[in-house]
């Protein structure tokens, strides 16, 4: 078949060449049309993307603009105008001297409170999640899949459902209205997510790594420490960002379990906005809200690319 075809080409080369040319021309025209269409689609795509980005970012923009104005300007002018005389006065008031309920120290002390709660809670829940995930992927036991399935319920139980049982438990443990109690709540609630993250990441690692290390003589913790953990940075970053954002942004657990001395910044923000002497200070409210949101934004800006990378990671080269 093939041979006879080749012979044909040789026999009538000129004719075939012209045929080839016309095919080429047609192909070129087709490609041109296609590329114009593709360009158009590309433009439409960008217009949509930019519109969506603008809609999404507009509230942030409004907040930043108004936090730089003074109260009079907000009351007189439109909310959407650019600040005429930008100043950081509202920011410094929100940080250091705005009233949140009965005290007037700004949100700074609560900022510290939040860190005191968030840092240990993130650390503990991440470590426990890593260990859980390690066991559930590499040291499976009878019923470990069922165990994992039940643990996942934790991801789907709304905060409100567990408030009362949690309050009772904290009472029994003598941890009611304490920072440790709130940390415990966040650890328990976060563990379902952190376990899910680590387990799914570790399932992608070759189990023979653990077999090889077992034969080399290493035990449970040594294998975790020397083999598994060094492969985990991508998923650690994902988990830490996730947990940090969740716990920092939490309001409900904070308002219920923290007690008066350990109020996190989200609760303080709420109090600040709701405490008013005379007129509402929108500029201070907005500055405070931006301050409260700053840590999560900073974390995302610095570690965001690892977050995206970690979510799609899994395969280990050369294992």
């Amino acid at each position: 078949m093939k041979q006879s075809y080749n012979l044909n080409i040789n026999a009538d080369a000129t004719k075939n060449l012209s045929l080839l040319d016309s095919v080429k021309n047609k192909a070129n025209r087709y490609l041109q049309q296609r590329s114009i269409l593709q360009h158009l689609l590309r433009i439409v795509l960008y217009v949509i993307l930019l519109t969506m980005a603008f809609i999404y970012l507009a509230p942030l923009l409004v907040m930043v603009m108004n936090s730089l104005k003074d109260v009079e300007e907000i009351r007189n002018g439109s909310l959407l105008a650019l600040p005429q005389d930008p100043s950081l006065a509202a920011w410094s008031k929100a940080w250091g001297s705005a009233c949140t309920g009965s005290t007037c120290e700004g949100i700074a002390p609560f900022f510290i409170n939040s860190f005191k709660i968030v840092l240990p809670a993130v650390a503990i829940s991440t470590i426990l999640g890593a260990l859980n995930g390690y066991v559930l992927s590499m040291w499976r036991f009878k019923g470990s899949d069922l165990f994992f399935g039940l643990l996942l319920f934790g991801c789907f139980i709304p905060f409100q459902v567990v408030l009362i049982p949690m309050a009772m438990t904290l009472g029994w443990l003598g941890l009611a209205s304490s920072a440790s109690g709130l940390i415990l709540v966040h650890v328990i609630y976060g563990m379902a997510f952190t376990t899910l993250f680590f387990r799914n990441y570790y399932v992608g690692l070759p189990r023979e790594l653990v077999s090889a290390a077992k034969i080399d003589g290493a035990g449970f913790f040594l294998i975790f420490w020397r083999i598994i953990l060094p492969l985990s940075p991508p998923i650690i970053v994902v988990t830490v960002i996730w947990q940090f954002t969740q716990i920092w942004n939490d309001f409900l657990f904070g308002v219920v379990f923290s007690g008066a001395d350990n109020l996190p910044v989200t609760v303080a923000l709420n109090n600040l906005v709701n405490t008013s002497f005379g007129g509402k200070e929108y500029n201070v409210d907005m500055a405070a809200a931006l301050l409260a949101a700053l840590p999560t934004i900073v974390v995302y800006v610095f570690a965001g690319k690892y977050f995206v990378r970690g979510l799609s990671a899994g395969a280990v080269k050369g294992a």
Binding site: L209, A212, I215, D216, G219, R226, L231, K317, A319
Partner: protein
């Protein structure tokens, strides 16, 4: 004393039995190959020896010591995995010395051992690299280095060459054989590649469905397979099976449709109990050739006219698929001899190495 004794080992997952009572004794310095089709239980057997999986029944002894319930680390074994399972975060040096480090070998000694192994496997220049920076063959060497460094009683190889390309596989095969000859180590080697099994093994254990089919030297397995499964599994192309009737003490008849063919019986093969009965004749392709001068007239040789269906030139010889009644036979002829497709030509049957199996049990007679 056997280096490794596997005594009546059984293993079940729920109601499925994967190993149904395996008995193997391996001498010190012996190279044993476990072979069988996928799902035959050979990998489970290997993991049980390593202690990575527990067994349901039976005992495993290493150097006379019962290790049935011992942890992998207490069995004094090393294993080379199919996927190599190199620690991706460690350098080659780290990979090789990890086991030594865990076993608390002092650092200078460790370094010496790594050097020794690296030299042996010619990977000295790779010691500071990470596994991801190595080629397949290099990873394979490192995996072997990791096993060798500890100098354990028994080495376990789990299909170590199956991830390499054909050329490298042949090279590494020879290398493993050389290493074994040089170091005199005891090796259990799992593979599904019968060439690897034939070339490497002192003894081959052929498994199927969790049962040991035959445990013997490669030549014994090739020449006197215990049953039709072993006969068909070992050798490529596989042994030909032909239903025949034993006429007398020195001849048999092939009933191929309307036609009947006579063949002589191999000398010294006792088939007296089967005269007049049907049996299965097993004959290797290389025993059916073009007529050759030096064999003509020998008592165990016969020439039959068969129709050629297909020829495959392999270079060293040519495989010919012929038709005998409703059966197809693989023959191996000299490439200088040509046969016409769809024509009848003469083929010489050398029956000296033919084997016979019981028609019902398919067991070697």
């Amino acid at each position: 004393m056997a280096a490794l004794s596997i005594e009546n080992v059984k293993k079940s997952y729920g109601s499925t039995q994967v190993l149904k009572g395996i008995n193997i004794d391996i001498e010190k310095g012996e190279f044993l190959v476990l072979i069988g089709p996928s799902g035959c239980g050979k990998s489970t057997m290997m993991n049980s020896i390593a202690g990575l999986e527990s067994i349901t029944e039976g005992r495993i002894l290493i150097g006379g010591e019962d290790v049935t319930h011992a942890n992998p680390k207490d069995r004094d074994i090393a294993m080379v995995f199919q996927s190599y399972a190199l620690y991706p975060n460690m350098t080659v040096r780290g990979n090789i010395s990890f086991g030594l480090e865990v076993r608390k070998m002092p650092k200078p000694e460790r370094e010496k051992q790594v050097q020794k192994v690296a030299q042996l496997l010619q990977i000295e220049h790779l010691l500071e690299r990470k596994p991801a920076q190595l080629s397949g063959g290099q990873r394979q060497r490192v995996a072997m280095g990791r096993a060798l460094a500890r100098e354990p009683k028994i080495y376990l190889f789990d299909e170590p060459l199956s991830n390499l390309d054909a050329k490298l596989r042949v090279e590494m095969r020879a290398e493993i054989k050389k290493l074994h000859q040089r170091l005199g180590t005891t090796i259990v080697y799992v593979t599904h590649d019968q060439v690897e099994a034939m070339t490497l093994a002192d003894r081959i254990a052929v498994m199927r469905d969790g049962l040991l089919q035959q445990l013997a030297s490669p030549q014994e397995i090739y020449d006197r397979p215990a049953n039709t499964f072993v006969a068909g599994f070992m050798g490529s192309p596989p042994m030909n099976f032909i239903d025949v009737t034993i006429d007398s003490s020195d001849s048999l008849t092939i009933n191929a449709g309307q036609q009947q063919y006579q063949l002589p019986l191999p000398q010294g093969y006792d088939l007296s109990n089967y005269v007049g009965k049907s049996v299965i004749l097993g004959i290797r392709p290389e025993m059916i050739t073009e007529p050759v001068q030096h064999k003509a007239g020998l008592p165990e040789v016969a020439v039959l006219k068969l129709k050629t269906l297909l020829t495959e030139a392999m270079g060293a010889d040519t495989m010919v698929l012929t038709q005998l009644g409703d059966k197809e036979l693989n023959c191996r002829i000299n490439p200088s001899h040509s046969v016409e497709i769809n024509q009848h030509s003469e083929f010489m049957f050398d029956m000296s190495k033919a084997v016979f199996f019981d028609a019902q049990t398919e067991v070697l007679i």
